[in-house]
Symmetry: D2
Subunit: 427 residues, 4 copies
């Protein structure tokens, strides 16, 4: 039986389907066809691949099973747009996605329209779908929201590694500002048993289930995100040149890529400029640092004599100090597309940047991936990656929860990632 | 002093400039913007990079020197469009060309128009340019013709490695056909001293100069190109599975890439299909085999108990048996875009496919590269590559000569390459 | 102040020093000089490098500080024998260790004698060393014991990848045998708060400190190790050919190395033979499976519908069901040099094989690496590795504890690694 | 029918066999077992592999065919000691040779004795062998002499890349000295037809046959080798930092390996020291430069405004100016093991260093490799390598001829390689 937690309310589905699907297209609308094709590194997928892949997901996992007589749009598209589902057959090697100039962007949009029309027909005919159908639909929509987030990263990578530094959009609005914090204040958490994992009615992924108890020794966490200004102090103190702060794997990374700053920081005439989706602009020291990888957070924390919170510590503190997602939280609906300085009273648990935690991505007790191809969604990645929490400025607002577990390899910088510090004991 | 051989007649320059430049644009016109961006392997450059690079060549090597007050179009374009001229400054690493989505195709066309307008102004003002200017202009045009040829290879690679096998153009005309040759007939050449290298008034590259004498022992060469049907016999005889036919480096290549046929040959329901710029179609055994690398030619020749001609043997035989370039030779003006079966009486020295020779690419006596950046054009590649002769179906007719020395690394298959056999002694 | 837990009792030091040092030499005695030089993969170090490195450790971290006027044996040996201590200066790149034919084995033994003589002099003069000196000495000895374990792995690798399959020693004793277990029985653990980490007087590494409370939901663990026979069933059920059992990273590994069995399993005339330090012999299905990596344990567990215990679950169950290390536990003093079938009543928590756990190697609360070069010992490896527990047949008996945390990358097979299953809830 | 050129006179065979075989053992005698095992780069083979391989060659290609009832020494040795003969079955991957610690050096010497005993028996019983047997025997001996040369290179590489810089032998004799040449004097050769390739009775390899005519335009060659002092001038003029002197492939090599000097040159307190088989010593500017690769010779020559001779120019000049091999030529019998300054009147065509030529290694007219496994000896390497001429201080005297064609890849420095300059025309 499906856990009720996994199922969206039926009334919202058709509208939600249209909303999510059109958001993807709006996101890609400012791009030129040329921008939609390339794959500068293996982790970055071409925007048109994203647009096709999320569409194939509905075709493969929904329409083929639920819409009798459904004809797939093109016999080769499964090969082109399957990402990693072994259960769904052969596919283009990941590193070759960026060589596939066809189908063109226009043809991918036609594919989207074809699938959307069939989905609309089905949704109209089924105002109250059965739980399994509702579940798969919801997975498809959540999946597309995740790819919307990835699209922000990948578009930024494509534009930000071009010597012309083209902007994704013009600067639209006055920037939100705030004072650079003068010092570090910590939120305290006493020792005790805390409940971790999802409960209740809303949707969640299978990796959040298995709600269970953990014991936390007393600890404290920073009441906000680490800022770019604070991170720059670490750099100016020689942080990238002193092995003592670094994990061994991190030090190898520093030397291999000759790292000396977060991604998208460029020295211009003695000042740091950063590349944003609005182009190059001067660094704002009050804003949360972003595009740091796990190694960089560890080095900063060791330099400070502290550490990062575990995902359990993060979740418990978030529930205590941010029991509701603030209306002002910086998600995609805010339109900033970049982390913003802390607003008064906000602890920045939600939005702005995903927070690296000091927890490896591993299964919760009683975790069990389902046996279908959809079972490949989360479970098979549970080795070698670290957990991040809280969502970012590239996350759709409705997509996030306190229990949401994101995960990435520790060397990656291209996501909107940041961190907060933690320490043992109460102050 | 410039050798007169290197200089084009002045009267033709303005018209020729327009003709060459517009030919490049016509060649790219059938492409979609998406096709113009990618670089599936390091040897293949994005079509829009070619369009920009050949334009930068005129800006860098001509306009900056000859047009007073010339303003370059964009300060970063030299960085983006320099290929390998160390003397012309820093540039994008070759393997990253395919990550540069900007400038867009449209912006590259605007770059072309800007440069063309300035070139036109200069050409109008200088009806009779000095030899050095004429020489550089001609180099620029020859250079662009070479990139037109590469564009054919690269476009074919991009489309031919896509699972959708999109055609570059519709099949336009009835195919030229001809009977598959029944047997091998050889052209005989007696022992003696032959003159090798360019002489006379027309343009040539510096690597063809240094006309000199070579002594050739008696030999014979096939009176035509090896056909696809003959090559298929080699395959059916187990040619790709028997190490004895292969150079050691070739056998490593066979095993590394699991080679079992020329590039663009695909087994479809028990028959060989080949990908052409008009899409997939059945193999025509009467047409010259193409997209074979040097290793494959050596294996075939050893299987036959023969060898390839040296570039000297090729040139001497070409002068004897094809003193003029036949009007029916298969160059780009013929529009076939693919090698065609031998037409009666033609020895196929010109057009169809570049012929691998058994000569390494090395300097002729008295070879001297000029000291400017243009000196990097040919000389610095004189190690590790083999010479090919005669031009192909992707070569502009006026571009070729009996003395023309093309050169590629021995493992490459993506060019229109083929071969003829040779043997020692008279029959 | 040093935690008392880290310090050995002074009376034992001189005798213990001699015992540990001579054990290393005894271990290498059966090798020929040729065996002592090579490094077939980067993870395997040459035996003579191990012998030199552990000696350098005493020179670098003890004699230079504690023995006034000590002259180092050779000015280049620090460069040759430093492993990864950034704080101790430049060193040979790890992958080049196997190219260093000098110093010879004989010269390394002379280096050992030189250092041992100086250590003996110091130990004689200091019958009751100060805590810091005792601590560093003990670290040096524990360090050498760890390298004794690695020597077993590396010697086995060197001999076991040679087509001649030379034995490290002749089969000396009748093998211990036991019946293959008929079924799986589980040890039960109820929910509750458990204390994790080292307490008390004996030595431990810094990564075991920070004793803290964890809450464990009810679970059960297999009352023994998984056997070779059980693992063979997984193989015969197609375990290596079905992606559904594998982590994504594990499935990549299977395909990259074409894995179809644990390391050192060889099919010989339809039966599995395994390579041991006594050479090739038939597989004994009753013995614990070994030389499996983390991916393989995950695939087996998923095939069984179970999982592995976390390191916390392992430690709590070990304390409950094996509060003392059994006298019959299979450590180096037993001399088996290979895992042996379960003896009646033993739960196999100690010895035989290191048990992979489902825990990533991460710091305990209040973990803090010391600031000296010795601080590089454990802490800088806390990313990307998994924890193993319990020691193996290559571990010196006195070296192990219930709280001991070993750690390796998940793809590695060359250690004596195995596993036990776990499941959620009571039966 | 075998060409008579390929066959040694029968009377010398038994004595010559003993002489060649014992020379190999004498060459390895100063090594320790540890030195005999490793393979620091793929081009370097372990000395004990060489000793086994040349022995296997006699077993495989002679004893198995000619000695009735011959029992091979060990069934796995063919697998271990076959180098690249596809026709002789499977073998250890080349890059793994250095992981094979067994058989030990002692066991390899026993293998040698076993084969030698059987060879001696056969030679005694066949005082006048048939031509084919004599030919194969001679190939085996020539082959072993080639491996003697390689042993010098590989031993030097193994010792010269060790931070201890151990000497292969003590400095035995006063060094031969000579004045550094003041200027460059050239030997002149007029235009004409020259005969190239082997003629006459003595042994030669198949790649020297096919004696044929070449026409050479007038040229001149340096009357000696380029010296270390002259090469140092090139370095001091910034030769390694100026792309204009380099072939493109050479410039890539310079940047990839950060080249700034020939191999084995080390800056020590402001002076160049070089590593020789007698250890580190100051550079002697009068001696021929060695351990330069083809790229370096090209850069030097272009810096000088000259070029290298082709192999044909070299051979014709050698025949004219050094018709006999000088008794004082620096081969292994001289015992210098290093190039020595030019002695009065010697043109240094023979010995000291192999001279890179500006010729790619390609077949002569009428070249045909024999069809047996021995046909893999030379022919299959005829792509991508350059020809060197004249022998070196590591070549046995009797091994060399004016027509001898050695060949190596252009990036290699570990051989005793050097060069002389050439130029077009008479002075």
């Amino acid at each position: 039986m499906l856990p009720s937690a996994l199922i969206s309310p039926p009334a919202t589905l058709a509208a939600r389907y249209r909303q999510v699907r059109s958001a993807t297209e709006a996101l890609c609308a400012p791009l030129r066809p040329e921008d939609c094709v390339v794959q500068p590194v293996v982790d970055v997928s071409p925007p048109k691949w994203h647009m096709g892949h999320v569409t194939w997901f509905f075709e493969q996992f929904f329409l083929k099973d639920y819409l009798p007589g459904y004809q797939i749009f093109h016999p080769k598209y499964a090969y082109l747009f399957n990402s990693y589902y072994e259960g769904a057959g052969e596919r283009v090697q990941r590193a070759y996605r960026g060589n596939m100039t066809r189908p063109s962007v226009q043809e991918v949009l036609e594919y989207r329209q074809y699938v959307d029309a069939h989905m609309a027909r089905w949704l109209e005919a089924h105002p109250d779908p059965a739980p399994r159908a509702r579940y798969i639909l919801e997975i498809g929509l959540q999946h597309e929201e995740q790819h919307q987030e990835l699209l922000h990263y990948d578009i930024k990578y494509i534009l930000g590694h071009n010597p012309l530094f083209p902007a994704y959009r013009e600067a639209e609005q006055p920037r939100l500002s705030g004072p650079a914090p003068a010092e570090m204040t910590f939120l305290e958490m006493e020792a005790g048993i805390y409940e971790i994992g999802h409960a209740g009615e809303g949707f969640c992924f299978d990796n959040e289930l298995g709600r269970h108890r953990v014991f936390l020794e007393p600890y404290r966490v920073l009441d906000r995100l680490v800022t770019a200004g604070e991170y720059r102090e670490f750099m100016e103190a020689g942080g990238y040149r002193d092995y003592r702060f670094w994990l061994e794997e991190g030090w190898k990374w520093v030397n291999m890529v000759q790292a000396d700053a977060p991604k998208y920081w460029f020295p211009v005439e003695g000042e740091w400029q950063i590349f944003t989706l609005e182009g190059l602009r001067p660094l704002n020291p009050a804003e949360p640092v972003t595009h740091v990888n796990y190694y960089e957070t560890q080095a900063f924390a060791r330099w400070k004599g502290m550490r990062l919170p575990t995902e359990f510590e993060w979740e418990a503190a978030c529930r205590r100090y941010a029991p509701e997602i603030p209306a002002a939280a910086n998600f995609t609906d805010l339109g900033a597309l970049h982390p913003i300085p802390r607003q008064s009273g906000d602890h920045q648990f939600f939005g702005d940047v995903w927070e690296w935690t000091q927890s490896a991505y591993l299964p919760y007790p009683r975790y069990h991936a389902e046996d279908s191809a959809l079972g490949e969604y989360n479970g098979k990645f549970m080795v070698g990656q670290m957990v991040l929490r809280g969502g970012s400025c590239a996350t759709p607002r409705g997509h996030i929860r306190a229990t949401y577990r994101n995960f990435f390899h520790p060397h990656l910088q291209w996501l909107f990632s940041g961190f907060r510090l933690a320490a043992d004991g109460l102050a």
